[in-house]
Point group: D2
Chain length 450, copies 4
Amino acid sequence: MSILDPLFRSAALDQVFSDADRVQAILHFEAALARAEAASGIIPEASARAIVAKCRVENFDLHLIAQEAAQAGNLAIPIVKQLTEAVAKDDKDSARFVHWGATSQDAIDTGVVLQLRRALELCEQDLQRLSGTLVSLAEKHRATPMVARTWMQQALPTTFGFAVAGWLEAIVRHRVRLAEIRPRVFTLQFGGAVGTLAALGSNGPAVAKALALDLKLDLPAAPWHAHRDRIAEVATTLGLCMGTLGKIARDISLRTQTEVRELFEPGGEGRGGSSTMPHKRNPVTCAVALAAAKRVPGLVSTLLSAMVQEEERGLGGWHAEWETLPELVCLVGGALHHLAEMLPGLEVDAARMRENLEITRGLIFAEAVSMALGDRMGKLPAHMLVEAACKKALAEKRHLKDVLLREPGWHGQLTAADLESLFEVRNYLGSAEEFTARVLSEAVSFSARR
Amino acid sequence: MSILDPLFRSAALDQVFSDADRVQAILHFEAALARAEAASGIIPEASARAIVAKCRVENFDLHLIAQEAAQAGNLAIPIVKQLTEAVAKDDKDSARFVHWGATSQDAIDTGVVLQLRRALELCEQDLQRLSGTLVSLAEKHRATPMVARTWMQQALPTTFGFAVAGWLEAIVRHRVRLAEIRPRVFTLQFGGAVGTLAALGSNGPAVAKALALDLKLDLPAAPWHAHRDRIAEVATTLGLCMGTLGKIARDISLRTQTEVRELFEPGGEGRGGSSTMPHKRNPVTCAVALAAAKRVPGLVSTLLSAMVQEEERGLGGWHAEWETLPELVCLVGGALHHLAEMLPGLEVDAARMRENLEITRGLIFAEAVSMALGDRMGKLPAHMLVEAACKKALAEKRHLKDVLLREPGWHGQLTAADLESLFEVRNYLGSAEEFTARVLSEAVSFSARR
Amino acid sequence: MSILDPLFRSAALDQVFSDADRVQAILHFEAALARAEAASGIIPEASARAIVAKCRVENFDLHLIAQEAAQAGNLAIPIVKQLTEAVAKDDKDSARFVHWGATSQDAIDTGVVLQLRRALELCEQDLQRLSGTLVSLAEKHRATPMVARTWMQQALPTTFGFAVAGWLEAIVRHRVRLAEIRPRVFTLQFGGAVGTLAALGSNGPAVAKALALDLKLDLPAAPWHAHRDRIAEVATTLGLCMGTLGKIARDISLRTQTEVRELFEPGGEGRGGSSTMPHKRNPVTCAVALAAAKRVPGLVSTLLSAMVQEEERGLGGWHAEWETLPELVCLVGGALHHLAEMLPGLEVDAARMRENLEITRGLIFAEAVSMALGDRMGKLPAHMLVEAACKKALAEKRHLKDVLLREPGWHGQLTAADLESLFEVRNYLGSAEEFTARVLSEAVSFSARR
Amino acid sequence: MSILDPLFRSAALDQVFSDADRVQAILHFEAALARAEAASGIIPEASARAIVAKCRVENFDLHLIAQEAAQAGNLAIPIVKQLTEAVAKDDKDSARFVHWGATSQDAIDTGVVLQLRRALELCEQDLQRLSGTLVSLAEKHRATPMVARTWMQQALPTTFGFAVAGWLEAIVRHRVRLAEIRPRVFTLQFGGAVGTLAALGSNGPAVAKALALDLKLDLPAAPWHAHRDRIAEVATTLGLCMGTLGKIARDISLRTQTEVRELFEPGGEGRGGSSTMPHKRNPVTCAVALAAAKRVPGLVSTLLSAMVQEEERGLGGWHAEWETLPELVCLVGGALHHLAEMLPGLEVDAARMRENLEITRGLIFAEAVSMALGDRMGKLPAHMLVEAACKKALAEKRHLKDVLLREPGWHGQLTAADLESLFEVRNYLGSAEEFTARVLSEAVSFSARR
């Protein structure tokens, strides 16, 4: 755990990937293996009990494991060694059955899968919470007009609720993806030294079945030691999710700018203050999510690169996963958690949104006018007429409506009242509300299905 | 098209992402839009026909499009301009209905989706072909003994068929993933300037529905301009697939080494020759796949980074996709194609595989002995006894069996005949054949379902 | 060349990395090799002349080279084959001396180095032009007040010239870096099949020396086939430069937002127009540079990954460079070129900058007040007093000065006139002008030294 | 510190980037700032002494700092707060001068620079040690014949010393690069809230000068808050170094394969043992270096992406550096340290190297024959003749020399004795020894200059 963890991560995920829980996950494998082998008649029941009794991380010397792992090249070897010694202390005979027929990678990979199951459950909880908040926000603001911006320029009116619906729909897709990968990811690893379970003679498949059952993991058709797509898929799926979280943070931070001021992260004691500028309220959660969005793509690329593992069990590629995957999960999960915490308190300044719709002096209604005229005089001539009027309005700092009222080009095509109504926000929101409603319905029905 | 394309890519995918097909895909959108708007009564049928008639890339000046795109910032603007001019030449009135209510991104994104549909179909064909080859290889060699290597060291015996089954199972998973993403990827983009379809008044959803139907694309709940997970997901899914292709190439290249010589890429006129070493037969297809495996992770990370797009339509992130995504698809698809072409001709030297099982002088059977003894005298003592014998065998360059025969430690535990049989390959393949059979059955049933 | 090249790249760099120039660069190597070997007495002068005469890309069939490279695994093999045939047509005896003693990688790597030399020269020209523009801008606006923004929030006053000086100083550092790498990058590759130049007997070093001299390249202590730091260093150095270019584009795009409007890319016919919003002027150059800034880091990571090349000449890693490096150079050079083209026309709205200094109603002077008070009453109490006043000013939408005038807390510490002057921009620019002057002097003296 | 640290990292670098040392580095800045401001007459000498006295990490509550940083958004705010409170306890008046005129980023960035200075010093020590080992190895084995492999195929003879010289020369280049970046990296950050040092009135530059002097850092022309090339350059330079370290590990791991067995990592108690295969000696250090080589490129790309920081101080990009940079430095430095530790014990089996030169039955001398014949009968005919002989030798499992002796094609061109001598390793090592000598001389003279 490091001094920056509370800023970037969540306490619950930190726990899942703590040293203790990492070792315990490996011990869960060893305990389940003993039970499965006893159930299959491979080792004595009493030995299984003796082994299971010792599989508690509290009894292990983590510092010694760390030192020996540096020699052995992985964590499982010193863990199995300590476990064997612990069992032997009470029951010499049973000690020989520790880790029976398994290889280090079986224990380490299955351990990681068990950690991932807990981690993705935590992520799903935060995604659900985030979805709920976004549903509320989108409903509440389904008719709150806001300027839409494209290429970082004001474009046309939209509603804040529709913008939120865009975030929401992406979050729902990520939940669908995370559900789809479950059967591939939550899968037992158990193949022995080279994937053949040769050390178990012909009993391999039976033990594997019992072991999967014990750990409530899926049983794959074959061990997958050097085939890392199951692991890398967690990274890519969370990587996609991170893109959306970063986009949400980017949107909020842009709308929080001093010149825009439509949205604010909730304040609070010591929250986002500046050491030198007492008036500032920095969007700390956005910073956290944007930082994670910068970091995660590189970590995804590492895990994809690391997939090229040699033959039956690879050299270096597998080792590259051990810290990268937890880091990636914690960063995505941390950003998700902080956003899920922050968003219920998001301050929305609907009045300011309305004011910002006015600052182009009608230019954001140029398309509305252009379409209405285009309908009558052809798209290109209309576009050119309106483009000229826009330039004039800009140059003379006048309202587009006023400029147009004095332009002869469109007379006869529209009445002045028509023109007036073209500059009403509510007349140019198109299907924003309908689209929002569809997204909400989709999101609600997804949550109901789960 | 560049001089290195035939080496790294496939001609069919190159075609899909050629300039001409890229422009044509955008024109498919424009034609379908005109038809959908005519069907919805938004524009006259005759205008739609006039527009559709001009939507053929042969009539467009690609060089001019390229030049104007540099000013406009995207391809759709000059394409729409040329299309409007072309329609106007014959039918001035209809020209105004070109691109009616749409924005550049609608045309460009939908165009990309249409290209991706063709591209992923080509990939699926090659994945199917590759699967078929791997099924045959795995079946043929299900009982061909080969040494398994872990950490790039000989470990235990396995079979070549089981190694192939590992590749195959991963390939099947990639086909499952590619099937899962279809409904999210093959989806219409149509939202107008800011996603509200405001220019179409209340007709937006009806036109969108007709348009999706015309293009045989799914209709999303809402436009997804700045939400790029649908696009990035193609990258991540193919990125995972690339990892497996790279792993296959790495395995083959390792087994093709002069000192190993178990596998060979097929030869042929000018294939893999060296300019200076007439005896060499370089694994060119492996080089191609390994190069792609180096390049694709960085491209995936780019597309994930690019997801952080601003507000309603982003600046820079979207533009970063335009070349990156085609490049990524062509690299993965190219490596896949070359491997699918090469693998049916892969030469397997089963005799050499057998010879390589002998070069450790029995050391790869150490585990077999260790397990058999461990069963009787405890795992740790057995491990230590065998470890000592191995060291002796190594130091004295003797066969492990001979060393053990002279070791008193295990006497009484095993007979000499027992020991002899422990050094038989076929007695230490564990469940390799059973696992292979399971994977084959899974692969065959997957292909049957499609 | 692709339809998006004029948008993202520069014509001059595209030329350097065109198929024709790539082949020609390899032919430059072959010609120089013949001359060097003739000069060293290894091959006859007449043969060298016969070879040199044929080393013109115009005489080569690029399509055939592309097809054969797909079989051979690299470009040099078919090029050497065609060259040999061409020489043989006129002079059968000389044909045998083509490519004498060299390996494909010698020709390809040295060819790339020759292309890089031209490419980096073009980059340096654009960097120099960009520096010149930034020097002018910084000088012109050294005293133009502008609000400084941190964490995307208005912070304190600064000057636009100082902001430009920040860009400029980074650009100067990039020029220094690019100068530093020259001796390592512009280096001959010549080692024969495995780096020993064995095919030349004991003449290797002499030929290498003559060859380096002929090509005006540095002569390394030894060939560097599988040691790719010289190549990867081009990528990392340009990657750093891209970061600064992206930062410049980010800054401009933020200050171009409709709500900020301090800076504008120059307009022009068809420049940055929207297909649906006639009033928009999209920052196209910023989009181009930001897109490149998204793409280049992934390409750098590819080239770093690709450095892990096997033994004397690697499999896959080397191949991964062939398209990645040109793409990276063209993207960085393209963004650089477009920015260098655009920046002289950048429109600076100094009046608007001044207006934006007012929109916080004095809050950006909070630090000025805080420091002045802190001096007298302690930093923390001052910070707290000012923080409270800021909150009040925000809540009541009043000017901070007015709120403070009514606050008793600071009375006795400052006069009302003191307070008034604390809200003068020019009194709180600190050392902005001095720092700007230092940067300018550094930049000018760097340019003078070159 | 995590349970995998001893495996992947070095204890000394871990210490530099520990929480305590990170906080202490920030406190070094605060102490030096107080001294510099006292020296410049900005704050009282007594206050400076009071502040300096408290700047010891032992007195700080790291847990509280972590919690408050999560609210504040950075570490400096809670550290300054605790420091102020600590000073105030003894000396209320002096407390107001803590952090006077500085911003959080000044303290954090300068703190990082101070950590980097220590870290790069440690790296240089290990690079020097590694160079020394490589110099010895290259000297010792300058004439030890070994087969050279290209594209993972045996090619021609070389010497092991020359292969080591290749590693060595790259390492020397990395040391040159690391020396070049020092003046850009070891530079003070001090600009106040927005880089103008406005809070110090006109005293900014004087304080900056004193502060740089105090910390023995270079004084830049201007602060560099949002210009991150100085930081990113550390990442790219170490990233290049990592590529070479990965290449060394790849080479060793390939030559350690059971079928090759030319090199071995030193053994030792518990070193590289397998949990299930008692005979294995896994190359643990190679695994560590290869894993780092997989991970570092993605981290470099993160730091390059993060360079696009907004305006005066960015949102998210800066935050992305805080954990990424230390991780990158520790991974590169860790791999370097483990290699530097391991290489002095590398076991070189020169006899086995010689045996491996024989396993192609003369094929690796094909080029020697080809060149000798080419000299006489033309390169292409010679190539074809030898190629045919090679095929025959392969097909019939005969020695190439024997095949050739029975081939009429070359008779008259060479004597049988000529042919015999073409198959002598020492006659086809080309300039391997000369190149090795040059590299050694370069390396020794570089070390002498330092």
